[in-house]
Symmetry: none
Subunit: 237 residues, 2 copies
């Protein structure tokens, strides 16, 4: 790891504001001499958070044309665990080709490398480098920096999660052991009768736990409670 990478990691870690976060992507772009560096995160509700050096024109264009749905990069990253080199993806579909040409028009380079990053609760983020060079140079570049990029991507993600969590500060409730067990049994698909038998208690007692958990979790029904318990990491199936 070069000293440069170390100091970039430190500067990301030290970022206290979104501006500093944004600056870090720009610094990284300059340090690596690439065209673009982008960190980007989307959840199911459509909330997004991101920073990077793409022009706002391109971002708008991307959203307007709903490229998210046909972008081979997104698709590839969803399926893989490992980083994706754009040129190894399948760009054969008509929509994908059009998108690629469009991207070049909007100032993107022809080469790209995107690292998928996953976090708790199904969080999914992308860390992308984009540059303009021929294949050989690009391969050498990736070969040289690939591992450090993984670290940088994770550091961006860690910081992004920090910003997001700072917004909400929802105190996660705690479940008593029996409540946990009850929720776990529900998550396993047991009926109340089965679950009660499994725990060696009466069905009525089991119900009390489920209701307690429901209330603690602020859930509307059992399914909701299980969903919340799961995505808060309170239970593991």
């Amino acid at each position: 790891m070069t000293l440069q990478t170390e100091s970039l990691l430190d500067s990301i870690q030290a970022a206290e504001t979104l501006e500093a976060f944004q600056t870090a992507t720009e610094d990284l772009r300059d340090a690596l001499a690439v065209k673009h560096v982008v960190y980007h995160w989307v959840n199911s509700i459509g909330e997004r958070f991101g920073a990077g050096t793409y022009s706002s024109d391109w971002v708008d264009r991307y959203l307007e044309k709903d490229y998210l749905r046909l972008d081979p990069v997104i698709f590839g990253c969803f399926q893989r665990f490992t980083p994706v080199n754009w040129k190894q993806l399948d760009w054969s579909s008509k929509g994908a080709k059009a998108m690629f040409l469009d991207a070049l028009d909007y100032g993107l380079g022809n080469q790209g490398y995107t690292i998928p990053i996953r976090g708790p609760n199904g969080q999914f983020a992308l860390f992308t480098l984009n540059a303009d060079m021929d294949d050989d140079k690009w391969d050498a570049f990736i070969d040289k920096h690939g591992r450090e990029l993984v670290l940088l991507g994770h550091e961006f993600n860690r910081k992004a999660l920090e910003f997001e969590q700072g917004k909400e500060t929802v105190a996660a409730p705690t479940l008593s052991p029996r409540e946990q067990a009850a929720m776990t049994a529900m998550a396993k698909g047991y009926s109340r009768a089965q679950a009660a038998a499994d725990l060696g208690i009466s069905e009525h007692t089991l119900r009390v736990y489920i209701e307690a958990a429901r209330h603690k979790l602020g859930a509307l029904n059992t399914t909701h409670a299980v969903a919340r318990a799961l995505s808060s990491g309170l239970i593991i199936v």
Copy 2:
């Protein structure tokens, strides 16, 4: 990054057999002069895969006593994105304390550092270092190697996924858009009537989606289906 780390990464990457994978954990243990190095993976269906230097006695003990359910390390990693230093966890519960002492009896060191790793389809893996040293030394150790450990953990995970995919893993079912929407609505705690109204369809139609998703997911009831969809990463709430 030290040359040593580079060569370890390369040796993991080069591993062709489970034996080589196992050897890599042992090499890493020796290189870092720690007591244990463990890579461990569990998916939503409960399939397991792991390699490491824990004694089989301890692994058996862990499973037998169902420590998975009360291990603060597991709990901490599920909730966090970042690595966890064992000593910063909450070991105050009786069960956790007993487990910790038990672990020492079985040859584990008093310090630990575990990196959570997440992949596609809700895959969740842990990469753990365990050692016997005082707090100051351990902190210095983590400070020095933390970032490289993230890389090593990911490399182990990449390799593990390779092995798993080689043996034809259980194909994760795919949900149609409407089925996804129905599952998401259920996970949000909507009643069928509410969910149907939300999707602008009849309650009966909604039911068809829910049942289809249940069958695809091999679930016993709606709660079970939602739990599976969530932990497979098919839906995000």
